[in-house]
């Protein structure tokens, strides 16, 4: 039964794509090109080209026809506990969904939220959510006032103030904040806050954004719970396009992205021209990188093909001694005697040289290690120092 529905869905999708292409569609696998000439392409929701399977191929790729519609029955049905454990997402209140989705019972106060914030959040998000340390600001002041800055654009006046995009002024839904705090915060130790702690932090963030719920200011005494949470309306809830909510969202999205001028595109099928001669806007001029630009590349930009400079890594003298020297040099510090006195008078350089090259019937070259000369000398110094005793 569900099998059939899946196919119906596939059929619907293909027809919609074809309708968008202003053409007629027969069945799955047959569609019409944007130009009306090529049966192997159709338009997708993004206004781009997709390639239904035609004559055993999708675009340039062959398709195994046996794999389409094959009865594959892998895996198992998850149990309720498993679903509950992972299905922790939140969806906002909408017309179709008056209770939202996944919004749990619980409560937390602004006061408790501030305490948690000061303990676990302030080091990254700054005092009162002001930002810093490479983490985003959570507030820049009154959300309703700052929402009005979203029409600021440094397009024609580079010196003007830009728009302020923080939680209060920009985000369309409060469920995003609750969900992200619960599942993704604190950044180095995520998934560690309780439901009530999450309500408390959300309350605190609403407070520093100077927001209201149902006409009531979220002041220092405010206690947020699920019922109040459902009533939160973000100042910028209507600030986004295309519309994605409701039972007929997808046609709206298709229509939006079907029109290049909505998103700054130029489409040759929608009146754009492929200009080849004398194309430049007369007012256009060369704009160069200002003030040297950004160049703190990590690591620094370099295209040479040389050998990397080896970073000197200090050897662990005790470890090397135990693994490579102790077999002989624990019984006697220097070959054949109890100390180095008989050797060092010839000069330490002679000791180093003998050690590095090895001596006939005695010391193997570098004691059989692959130490660098410098590291080997460090080992000699270590042995002579007598610290191993």
């Amino acid at each position: 039964m569900f099998k059939l529905e899946a196919y119906n869905k596939l059929l619907v999708s293909t027809s919609v794509a074809a309708v968008l292409a202003l053409s007629v569609v027969g069945c799955m696998g047959e569609s019409t090109a944007p130009s009306g000439s090529d049966a192997s392409v159709s338009l997708d929701i993004d206004g781009g080209v997709s390639h239904p399977v035609v004559n055993g191929k999708t675009g340039n790729y062959y398709v195994n026809p046996q794999a389409i519609g094959a009865k594959i029955n892998n895996g198992r049905v998850p149990n309720a506990a498993e679903l509950a454990k992972w299905d922790t997402d939140l969806q906002p209140v909408t017309e179709l969904s008056p209770e939202g989705h996944g919004i749990p019972e619980g409560s937390g106060s602004v006061e408790d939220g501030e305490t948690i914030y000061e303990a676990q959040c302030v080091m990254c998000h700054g005092d009162f959510g002001s930002g810093g340390g490479g983490y985003p600001a959570l507030s820049k002041g009154n959300a309703y006032d700052l929402q009005k800055t979203l029409t600021n654009n440094r397009w024609k006046d580079p010196e003007a103030d830009g728009p302020t995009r923080v939680f209060g002024s920009y985000w369309p839904q409060v469920t995003t904040m609750w969900w992200y705090i619960r599942d993704g915060m604190p950044h180095p130790f995520s998934d560690s806050l309780s439901v009530d702690e999450t309500y408390a932090l959300t309350a605190y963030i609403l407070n520093i954004n100077e927001m209201e719920i149902d006409g009531e200011e979220v002041d220092d005494e405010y206690v947020l719970d699920r019922a109040k949470f459902l009533k939160i309306k973000m100042p910028n809830v209507d600030g986004f396009e295309p519309n994605i909510a409701g039972a007929n969202a997808l046609p709206a999205v298709r229509a939006y992205f079907g029109k290049a001028s909505n998103f700054g595109g130029q489409n040759l099928n929608q009146g754009a021209v492929r200009c080849m001669t004398d194309c430049q806007e007369p007012t256009a001029k060369i704009k160069r990188i200002q003030n040297g630009g950004i160049k703190d590349f990590i690591p620094a930009m370099n295209v040479t093909r040389d050998l990397p400079v080896k970073e000197a890594v200090a050897i662990d003298v005790k470890k090397v001694y135990t693994e490579s020297c102790a077999m002989c040099h624990s019984a006697f510090l220097a070959p054949g005697s109890g100390d180095w006195a008989g050797y060092t008078p010839k000069g330490i350089d002679k000791v180093y040289a003998n050690g590095i090259k090895g001596t006939e019937g005695g010391m193997p070259a570098k004691g059989g290690t692959d130490l660098s000369d410098a590291d080997f000398k460090t080992m000699v110094d270590y042995l002579i120092s007598g610290k191993i005793k």
Binding site: E82, Y180, P242, L268, I286, I289
Partner: protein
Amino acid sequence: MDNKESQDQTTIDRRDFFKKAAAVSVTALAGTSLLANESAGKGDPAIMHHTKWGRKWGDPVTKNQYGIPSAYEHNVIRRSTKLLASGNFRASIAVTPIHESQGIITPNGLFFSRSHGGTAHVDPNEYRLMIHGLVEKPIVLTLAELKRYPSVTRTHFIECPANGGQEWRGPQFNSVQFAKGFMASAEWTGVYIKTILEDLGLKPTAQWMLAEGSDNSKMGRTLPIDKILDDAMIVWGQNGEALRPEQGYPVRLLVPGWEGNLCVKWLRRLEFSQEPWYCKEETSKYTDLKPTGKAIQHFYANEVNSTVTSPSPELPWTDLKDGDVVEIEGLAWSGMGTITAVDLSFDGGKNYEEANLKGLVLSKSWTRWSYMHTYKKGKKLLLTSRAIDDAGYIQPTIDQEVSVMGVEAVYHRNAVETWEVTEEGKVNHVQIRSV
């Protein structure tokens, strides 16, 4: 080593010799005639001397059982910058050296890396994928069970929609790696989601799918059903091997042509719903604010785009001689279809000539283009490339794009970009624009 010129070659010690040989090969790679170097007449030392590797044993085959690049390639690496250091480089990006890229495949180790809570290291034995919501039968799959579906292999780029996004108000990076390297391309292997849905049965009210990662940010995004029933894939293979941890090992979503951010890594859960989700990375970020004050949300496809990779700020023409014939090369790509043409301008977009596509030209894939140019020493150029795709999209001028989008959008900037080639052959990033 510069003072060695007057000395007999044989007195040069080995250490200096190898430095010199390396310098000569770099010059050779850049296309200059060897006869132009100081050893003309005596012969090129790289030929005349015994090489270190030519008369000694090389490594046994048992060394490097997973191969590594030549030590000489150590500068061909992903890079980051403090500007993008968010979250101690754990909500950050490291970008691909596209000036060093060959063909249309990026090696896995160089594939740009973006995460929202650091690179997760998932134990494949504990890997589970849960699919639920508006389906007739929810399921949970192990990695082995997932891989048992019939696989498909496709070549697609993944591009961060913030590629070029630091430069809405003017050029900032004198580097093609940073100006255009928030992307890479690979051959991916996995299963179409629609293949799995044939068994699960999608309910008719389903409009959206949530994809959620298992990393510490639980990175999630909403996708429309259209794309799921078209070409969205769950992938485990990249360029013939398992995904790298930076790419979501063991399993990520692959949404051909669309925002890289939608290709959720360390994927653990897909849920179908009638209403969308409003995830953090599709509201607070990855939305394009226009001068009207409205922001575009769910801006799926990376639009048609191109860049000149050679020459570039990293690969200048300072060593070219007058009259040298040189290949101008670049990449073109579109998340909305297949590249049909690339035009190249030498005067910053005033006049264009059509360049040549080369190699495989695939849908939603990097496409190589090429133009043979006779270099005129001392002549300043403004190199601008412009790509066209089979959905009819052509790259806008900066003025055209900015007139609709303003300069605060951050994402999806695909206007033409320009390299200035100076009289000396140096290459600078510039923009040709009115405001």
